[in-house]
């Protein structure tokens, strides 16, 4: 029942998001016909192109037609490149996904030990240093961090290439060197968020009766932290990872531009510059659907983390 309720709500959200993005992009100044034919085209030619593309029809009709296509996986055909938008997105998506997954692995892999260490010594020097560090990381714009990392690792030490992409199918080693720097750049901000969340929740959990009783049973602090306290403290963290995974599909725009990665974000930016409406809209839809789907999955993960939710 709850699942159905949530699904309906998610569908409504998706409908509103697609309509808004479609309507807003279409209402903004700028005409795709001019992009296709150039400024010197005759009025007849323009009208012909309009008719071919269906641009002469009312907005709502065009939106519904486009939406009907989306349901069957047809994102339309780019006005500019004449390529199906769906295949372009499909080509770029693996790059963005690999970047996201690598960034989350780095962020979570560091955030969990850092959060646990800070919570264990809450208020002491280590905790204060880690809190200050995560505050600084949160305040660093990704492009600033990215440029600094390039300066240190690619220019000064020359251990990884500054830009460029090697697909995983071509060479795994080179693929990893091309993803590591962007992933660190993207992961650092997440790391700070995750570590702070986990620290706060862990400190709250450590006040619980069952933790005091675990101590009263003579269990070691290490065992209590990792086996007793971590899982009940992970709900906020799981939520945050879900929100970020979804939201970051769009957030990779900057990173992909900075590091020259052929991902979805880069495709959207390029399409914006070339007024390629349908590709931009397709990208927005992909991001929204990804966000909504990930958050739906997160709800299912809750049950695994906390058995109390399974009953509901």
């Amino acid at each position: 029942m709850i699942v159905v309720h949530r699904l309906v709500r998610l569908l409504v959200v998706l409908l509103v998001v697609t309509f808004l993005s479609y309507a807003l992009l279409n209402l903004l100044p700028g005409d795709p016909v001019t992009q296709i034919l150039g400024l010197s085209a005759t009025e007849e030619a323009r009208a012909q192109v309009r008719q071919d593309l269906g641009l002469d029809q009312p907005l709502l009709v065009r939106y519904l037609g486009w939406l009907g296509g989306l349901v069957t996986g047809d994102f339309g055909e780019s006005y500019i490149t004449r390529m199906p938008v769906a295949s372009e997105l499909a080509e770029r998506l693996p790059v963005t996904l690999e970047l996201l997954v690598a960034a989350q692995i780095i962020a979570l892999g560091l955030a969990i030990p850092v959060g646990v260490a800070a919570a264990r010594r809450a208020g002491r020097a280590l905790d204060q240093a880690l809190t200050a560090l995560s505050f600084a990381l949160l305040s660093t714009p990704v492009f600033v961090l990215g440029v600094l990392l390039i300066l240190v690792f690619a220019v000064t030490w020359q251990v990884v290439p500054a830009t460029g992409w090697t697909p995983i199918s071509l060479d795994l080693g080179w693929n990893l060197t091309s993803v590591i720097l962007p992933a660190i750049t993207l992961g650092c901000g997440q790391l700070a968020v995750y570590a702070r969340l986990l620290r706060t929740d862990l400190i709250a959990t450590l006040q619980e009766d069952y933790i005091t009783l675990a101590r009263a049973r003579g269990l070691s602090p290490r065992r209590i932290l990792w086996r007793h306290a971590l899982r009940p403290s992970a709900i906020s963290l799981v939520t945050a990872v879900g929100l970020n995974l979804g939201a970051l599909i769009g957030g990779t725009v900057i990173i992909e531009t900075l590091f020259g990665l052929p991902g979805v974000g880069r495709l959207i930016v390029d399409s914006i510059f070339s007024r390629d409406y349908l590709t931009v809209q397709g990208g927005v839809v992909l991001i929204s659907v990804g966000y909504v789907a990930v958050n739906f999955a997160v709800d299912l993960v809750y049950a695994a983390v906390d058995p109390r939710i399974r009953r509901a």
């Binding site: 998706l14 993005s21 700028g30 505050f135 009766d209 003579g218 725009v253 927005v284």
Partner: protein
């Protein structure tokens, strides 16, 4: 004010002021023009003439950064004001009006979260034109949902407070309530978020500029400067570093100022927390005799907390002895230090406490044990049961994992042995179908069953002393008796000693051999349970007994309560701590604290011949 905000706040505020001033006065300051090429040699590092060096075209980087600040801060201030202007009224409306308005706002929030804001900003700016006005409007509008959420939340917390409800009851007009009561209280969180919002907008504007979609050349922007500098990373890194560092410091400062302002309203962080112990000097202890024939002996046990308000003496000089096979009850009102005494004995105190005195287990001083050695005693020799079985079990682990854990850790059993032993233990505390129970989670059991599980866990390693801190308070009356019988039976079977904390005197009178009565962290009366309850000497004990309802009381008997409140542990009354509430107090009680001599601490103990006479008098009325 200054000390609460800290130096970080003032340094950040100073930096923001500096950048703001430089941005406003950019044209007046003695700087090179930002677009003057060859103001110095191209790509030259920092020098006296060009403190931040020059870029690829020989333009002064400092001047470009200062002019870039105009765009960043201009967009920041503008977008935040726009977001606040639209978001605050909507948020107050949603928080104050609730229902339909609120539902709409929440739905909009759902959509806004799923909307890729940055991509959208890029598209709008690209299509509508990359200029200051468009960037400002787009970033301002995109910030509205966050503002609505924040203001709505702040309004909600105040719309229910007494002073707002009182105003409503008095028939004050809504508009007046909003302006007089709500707006001033929402102002602080709003101011805090204004700074955090500035940080968000400055980063967003930087991102747009980095992609070439903010204010266009020749006007410099921070994001644009960093983008341009990328090509010179190898030959002139200062070109990229200067705007990067300035931008980082600015964003950090906005975040920090916002964070500190928020902590002003956040009670959890505003100085009510206990201060950590200042070089915990262990409290000195008096001379005493260690009695090896006693299983458990506490000598002058003290636990003090150092808080900003003063020292809280939660346990203040408690001594007792306990033999095998006996039950010691600790009674007193809430806050009298009963539970803290148990935690002091077990060494389960928070870091902010200072402990003094000694605890001997079969003559061994536990207070001298290292943490690791103490852990080897907790479980195998000292078992513990807490008051609330709903919070005593870890909600995410199965009963089996939790019951077998001490067996495996302390007794070195393997998984199969531990499981078999756990089945036996659960059966011994009266749990039907123990095999199945092991596979369940705590939320699938009733309160009584859970308490049986926690008792089984406490007994799993065969302790010598069982500490039961109000083990039945959270249970139904019918279950209470079962659990107490169970404890009593287990004590007999295992020849344990039990320390039973309770404020239920009927429980204590029935099950305890000895009793100590605590008030304000001190023992005020002690002795065999039957003796203390039959003839209480200390007026506080008498009051406790009179406050307890009895089945033998006549119908419609008026329940006596202890007048006054439990004392403030930071600011105890002079002399006897009970004296302000004591009906028999005389001058001496307020001057000198009575020592615990023999079985009670009182200058004017109750004389029982007199008590009987009083009773006869009042009964005759």
């Amino acid at each position: 004010m200054r000390s609460r905000l800290g130096w970080g706040f003032w340094a950040s505020a100073g930096w923001i002021g500096l950048v703001l001033l430089a941005a406003v006065l950019a044209d007046v300051l003695p700087l090179a023009r930002y677009d003057e090429t060859l103001a110095g040699p191209p790509r030259s590092g920092p020098s006296a003439a060009h403190p931040f060096g020059t870029d690829g075209l020989g333009r002064d980087v400092l001047s470009r950064v200062v002019h870039g600040a105009r765009v960043s801060l201009g967009v920041g201030v503008g977008a935040v004001l726009l977001g606040l202007g639209i978001g605050a009224p909507l948020g107050i409306l949603a928080g104050y009006r609730r229902r339909a308005t609120d539902a709409v706002i929440m739905a909009v929030n759902d959509v806004a979260q799923a909307f890729p804001a940055l991509v959208f900003a890029l598209a709008v700016v690209a299509f509508a034109g990359a200029n200051l006005r468009n960037v400002l409007i787009v970033l301002g509008v995109l910030g509205v949902p966050s503002w609505v959420r924040l203001i709505r939340g702040a309004t909600l917390t105040y719309a229910d407070r007494e002073f707002v409800l009182a105003a409503r009851v008095l028939g004050t007009r809504d508009r007046r309530i909003l302006w007089r009561e709500i707006v001033p209280n929402v102002a602080v969180p709003a101011a805090s978020y204004a700074f955090i919002g500035m940080a968000v907008v400055v980063v967003a504007e930087g991102s747009l500029a980095f992609l070439g979609l903010s204010v266009q050349a020749p006007t410099p922007t921070w994001g644009g400067l960093i983008n341009e500098g990328r090509t010179l990373l190898e030959s002139a890194p200062h070109v990229v570093l200067a705007p990067s560092v300035v931008m980082f410091l600015t964003v950090l400062s906005f975040n920090l100022v916002g964070d500190r302002l928020r902590s002003l309203t956040d009670v959890r962080e505003s100085g009510l927390e206990p201060v950590r112990q200042a070089a915990a000097a262990p409290l000195p202890s008096a001379e005493h005799e260690v009695r090896a024939d006693c299983l458990l002996q506490a000598e002058d046990l003290r636990t003090h907390f150092v808080t900003p308000r003063g020292v809280v003496k939660a346990v203040d000089g408690v001594s007792f002895t306990l033999r095998r096979g006996r039950t010691l009850a600790i009674v007193g009102e809430s806050g009298s230090g009963k539970s803290m005494l148990i935690r002091s004995i077990l060494g389960l105190l928070p870091g902010s406490s200072v402990r003094g005195g000694h605890v001997y287990l079969s003559g061994d001083d536990l207070t001298g044990y290292s943490p690791a050695r103490m852990r080897s005693v907790l479980g195998p020799r000292l078992g513990t049961v807490f008051q609330d079985p709903m919070t005593a079990l870890n909600p995410v682990r199965t009963i089996g994992t939790q019951v077998t854990e001490p067996l495996r850790v302390h007794l070195g059993m393997n998984r199969r042995q531990a499981r078999a032993e756990a089945v036996r233990l659960l059966a011994s505390v009266g749990i039907p179908d123990p095999e199945r129970t092991l596979r369940r989670h705590p939320h699938q059991l009733s309160g009584g069953m859970r308490q049986r599980v926690t008792i089984a866990m406490a007994l799993s390693c065969g302790p010598d002393v069982l500490f039961a801190d109000e083990p039945t308070t959270a249970l139904d009356v019918t279950i209470q008796d079962q659990v107490l019988r169970l404890l009593h039976r287990l004590r007999e079977e295992r020849d344990m000693a039990v320390v039973l904390v309770s404020h239920d005197l009927s429980v204590v009178a029935r099950w305890a051999d000895e009793v100590i009565v605590m008030y304000a962290g001190k023992v005020v009366e002690r002795g065999p349970a039957a003796e203390v309850f039959a003839r209480p000497r200390m007026p506080y004990t008498e009051a406790l007994l009179q406050a307890a309802p009895r089945l033998t009381d006549p119908v419609h008997h008026r329940l006596r309560v202890i007048p006054g409140r439990p004392p403030d542990l930071v600011d105890l009354p002079r002399g006897c701590a009970f004296q302000p509430r004591c009906p028999y107090a005389r001058d001496r009680c307020a001057r000198e604290a009575p020592p615990l001599t023999g079985s009670y601490a009182c200058w004017y103990p109750r004389d029982h011949a007199e008590v009987l006479k009083e009773r006869a008098d009042s009964g005759g009325r």
